[in-house]
């Protein structure tokens, strides 16, 4: 393949339903003027710059040193949605910044790629004290309590809002998995969330690779069964996706997330807990259920688990200082207005309760005996 080889469409400009007008491979000079960067030195990109002549589109320019193979990989990604059914293609285009064109220049097949700008609905006003700022809202926020979310002036998602976002995340993950692509970068920083629309938008998808790719390390997202230095694959993705969904559903970020999932607080999605626990705790990484399975469970469907059941590692220990609250989110349609405190009795308290109860019975028994004696004596 040469730099200017068409990848699909037999040389004709590909028709992109999102409105990208130029071919799928385009020279840097053909893009027209680039506006000031909206982001610099972020991950694999040296800059992300709006295309002045193509409103709504960005040039993501990579660090130097990418190879011919990267050009092939980007071409593969750009054409991958062509193989999808119409509905999945529409979902992928609406929910991700899927690349539309590879940018090349002489001697460099992969200068970057053209991606759509994230829709405006993913910007929100965050207020705290006398400061406020309108910015893209990362899905980070969904892994916080409703109270925290409301504390910065955002509408509280409630369980329905969390569920809707997680359904979309897993739908996108299932499409990627179906395409045989590894994302590796499932984490808080790579998805935007719209509290108003209850939707999510995945970014940095141009980094996807077929089958396996270098494991992108992010603190607190390490897959315990993917050894450091080894590649990430679909099983790594499944673990990270489950972790993200568990955090967003429960609104928690630490070990209590796992306990929240284990408490199965979702009566209308009875299989979700089991799927998530298998994805997170299966001792054999290849027994982790697929993203589509999780999506099905989130959509109130069953979990068709292979037998024998995968064995699981124990739940992680809870921090001793912060008391466990095993109520991640209220059940749908039962959202209390004020926080409820779950009080767990201690052993002594239970014994005390039991003692108090038996004392009552002794008094009742004594009263009955006296009554019987009085009745008997009157006869």
């Amino acid at each position: 393949m040469t730099d200017s080889d068409p990848v699909a469409g037999g040389g004709a400009p590909a028709v992109d339903p999102r409105g990208w007008a130029l071919p799928r491979t385009v020279g840097l000079a053909d893009l027209g003027p680039l506006a000031e960067p909206i982001s610099e030195h972020n991950g694999q990109a040296v800059a992300v710059r709006p295309l002045t002549d193509h409103p709504g589109w960005l040039a993501k320019l990579y660090r130097p040193g990418l190879h011919q193979e990267d050009g092939h990989r980007i071409d593969l990604l750009i054409s991958a949605p062509d193989t999808l059914p119409e509905t999945e293609r529409a979902t992928l285009y609406a929910g991700t910044c899927w690349p539309a064109a590879r940018i090349h220049e002489p001697g460099n097949p992969a200068v970057g790629c053209v991606i759509p700008m994230a829709p405006e609905q993913y910007r929100s006003e965050l207020r705290r004290g006398k400061f406020s700022e309108r910015r893209f809202l990362e899905i980070d926020w969904l892994a916080k309590s409703d109270e925290s979310i409301r504390g910065v002036g955002l509408p509280r998602p409630g369980f329905e809002g969390r569920l809707t976002a997680c359904r979309q995340l897993t739908e996108l993950a299932a499409i990627l998995e179906g395409l045989g692509l590894v994302y590796s970068d499932w984490s808080f920083s790579n998805a935007f969330w719209s509290p108003e629309q209850r939707s999510v938008y995945l970014i940095d998808v141009d980094g996807c690779q077929p089958k396996k790719m270098p494991d992108i390390h992010q603190p607190n997202w390490a897959d315990p069964l993917t050894p450091p230095g080894s590649d990430a694959d679909q099983y790594t993705d499944r673990y990270r996706l489950a972790l993200l969904v568990a955090k967003c559903l429960t609104g928690r970020r630490d070990a209590s997330t796992f306990h929240g999932v284990a408490a199965s607080p979702w009566p209308n999605q009875p299989a979700v807990s089991e799927v998530l626990l298998d994805m997170l705790l299966a001792t054999d990484r290849e027994r982790r259920p697929a993203a589509a399975q999780l999506n099905q469970a989130l959509n109130n469907g069953p979990y068709l688990r292979a037998v024998p059941r995968p064995t699981r590692t124990p739940l992680p220990q809870l921090p001793p200082v912060q008391a466990p609250v095993l109520r991640p989110q209220p059940a749908p349609h039962a959202i209390p207005e004020s926080p409820t405190v779950t009080r767990i009795s201690t052993v002594e308290e239970k014994q005390k309760d039991a003692t108090g109860s038996s004392t009552k019975w002794i008094w009742v028994l004594a009263f009955v005996v006296i009554l019987v004696v009085i009745i008997a004596s009157n006869h």
Binding site: G129, S189, P219, V321
Partner: protein, 216 residues
């Protein structure tokens, strides 16, 4: 276990900072806003704010900044006693690291961001400093120093164990703003990688490489 970086923002609140008090407080409030509205950073970097002058005050004990409703106001005045600040920091680190570990965090080496506009007015500050950064103490912190106004480069070269930033002639108020932005960028970068990543490009400051950086 979640990774956690105990972070100490140490502010010089001596009388030389009095004319810049309003900017100092506004800058601290902005730091609070940025941390409190960035869950990933506030989860990773637990922050304590310490102000020092003739005495030392823990303005905010080690906290998730999202849980802190607002930043208290700092009133400046007094001398510039580095020693008391270093003593307090050693004591705080000892307590805070234990507390974070008890909460099952995987605790990284603490980071001190030391912002000063003056030279120390106490004679024996070096003893306190040596105790603080003693490499035989397993919890010895990294020190990143930002000097502006009347701060002395030679002194701060002794204090900085990780990175040193010296104001390039910009006024104190711009320097304060630049230092806090640099600090914030360092925390954001560090939260992305899970290890200390110093943002060396700080507006209004010259980045000075530390001669003998402490490497863990």
């Amino acid at each position: 276990m979640s990774l956690c970086l105990p972070t100490y923002v140490v502010i010089d609140a001596s009388s030389s900072m009095k004319p810049h008090e309003a900017v100092l407080n506004a800058t601290l409030s902005r730091l609070h806003y940025n941390l409190a509205t960035n869950p990933r950073v506030s989860e990773f970097a637990r922050v304590s704010v310490v102000a020092f002058s003739t005495d030392v005050h823990v303005v905010i004990p080690m906290s998730d900044m999202e849980q802190v409703p607002s930043m208290p106001e700092v009133i400046c005045g007094g001398g510039t006693e580095y020693g008391k600040a270093f003593d307090q920091l050693r004591q705080s680190i000892e307590q805070d690291v234990s507390s974070l570990r008890a909460q099952q965090y995987s605790v990284l080496r603490p980071a001190i961001f030391f912002l000063t506009d003056g030279a120390p007015t106490d004679a024996r500050w070096r003893d306190s400093f040596r105790t603080l950064v003693d490499r035989n103490w397993p919890r010895h912190p990294h020190v990143i120093a930002y000097g502006f106004g009347g701060a002395r480069r030679d002194v701060l070269k002794e204090v900085a164990t990780k990175a040193l930033f010296i104001a390039d002639g910009s006024d104190t108020e711009s320097a304060l703003s630049g230092a806090i932005t640099g600090l914030l960028n360092t925390l954001i970068a560090s939260s992305q990688t899970g290890q200390m990543q110093i943002a060396t490009d700080v507006k209004g400051f010259e980045y000075v490489q530390v001669a003998q950086e402490y490497v863990d």
